[in-house]
């Protein structure tokens, strides 16, 4: 794996730099000596089989949990929060609605741009006073992304924004992300939808057997001549 480590151009300070990060659950190692770097203006997909530690990696990057070992460095440009972790539909209680969630964000995050959040929610024409109980997971995801992307942050994290969502809404979400990501910011998302995201992702990070491989998607296409999903299957097949 070491020979495939990507070079970081010296001029571009990564927004996120994880070095030799390990994480264990009850002494069971999940991630071992993981390196990950996120440069400005990139969209990076994290893929891996179920239980490979994708969500854990995202939570480590977002500072929601601390690593057992290793260093995680966030270097945002001046005036921006280092990271905004977008909540998943399961992480938000069903009794909340978009309005309440917005009030919660305003109180909790000094960098939250309430007007922008309102604008984004209005543009989606989603019910804002209805409890999330009554909304589909796709609608909740769009609300969560509207709020997460309304924080003035250098790096946005999203855990499976396309999971359990029908194709048309998945397209809306893909386009919504592209439309709303602030210029120069980066997005790291956990996803299984490699085929439909393959041209949107600048880089792919594959978690497999507790380690990681990070590669540019253009390299996958040009060097290996296969799709991003086929590359993932090749890298994770049991030998």
């Amino acid at each position: 794996m070491a020979e495939n480590r990507m070079e970081i151009p010296p001029m571009e300070t990564p927004l996120l730099l994880m070095q030799k990060v390990s994480f264990s659950y009850n002494k069971n190692p999940l991630l071992c000596q993981i390196d990950l770097h996120v440069r400005p203006g990139r969209i990076i997909g994290i893929a891996g089989s179920n239980g490979s530690g994708k969500s854990t990696l995202l939570k480590l990057a977002g500072g929601l949990i601390a690593p057992s070992e290793g260093s995680i460095r966030l270097s945002p440009p001046d005036g921006l929060a280092p990271v905004s972790y977008c909540l998943t539909s399961e992480q938000i209680p069903g009794w909340m609605n978009a309005r309440k969630l917005m009030a919660y964000y305003s109180h909790f995050f000094a960098d939250f741009d309430r007007e922008r959040a309102q604008e984004l929610l209005d543009s989606l024409a989603l019910p804002q006073k209805r409890s999330l109980y009554w909304l589909s997971s796709g609608q909740i995801t769009l609300i969560a992304l509207s709020l997460g992307l309304s924080r003035r942050a250098a790096l946005y994290l999203s855990d499976e924004p396309l999971a359990s969502i029908e194709p048309k809404l998945r397209r809306d979400i893909r386009r919504f992300l592209l439309r709303c990501m602030p210029e120069g910011s980066s997005l790291v998302m956990v996803t299984h939808h490699l085929n439909e995201l393959q041209y949107m992702l600048d880089e792919l990070a594959i978690l497999h057997r507790h380690t990681i491989r990070q590669i540019e998607t253009e390299t996958i296409r040009r060097k290996y001549g296969i799709s991003v999903e086929d590359y993932f299957l090749k890298e994770t097949k049991n030998d």
């Binding site: 990139r42 969209i43 041209y199 600048d202 296409r221 001549g225």
Partner: protein
Amino acid sequence: MGFDAAAPIYIQIGDRIREEIISGKYPPGEQLKSVREYAVFYEVSPLTMHRAMQYLESQGLIVTKKGVGSFVNPQLNPTAARQMVKEQALRFISRLREMGLSAPEILKLIQECLQQDNPPRDRPENEEDMKNG
């Protein structure tokens, strides 16, 4: 939106926009869509779209004003556009030559293809431009 593995995606997108410029869809001086709008349209990363615009800029097809947007080069004249069409034709011909076709065979093949193809006569002004250019 489909792409193939033959060239980097930014070049494939750049070539599509280039064709739109040459076809006159965007006349000289006209503002193009923003990087973000194009990224949403093609569902590609903003980085890829930036590279596509830089590629078009390096060919002198567009000019980018910082903070304003990208425009079709106002100096772009029909002769230059014709030159680019000619380049495409030359590339096509060299590929047929690589397949072992001679000049008369290529000509015959193109004539055959033209007879099969019934083009909609929807762009008379462009045909005029081509003749004058």
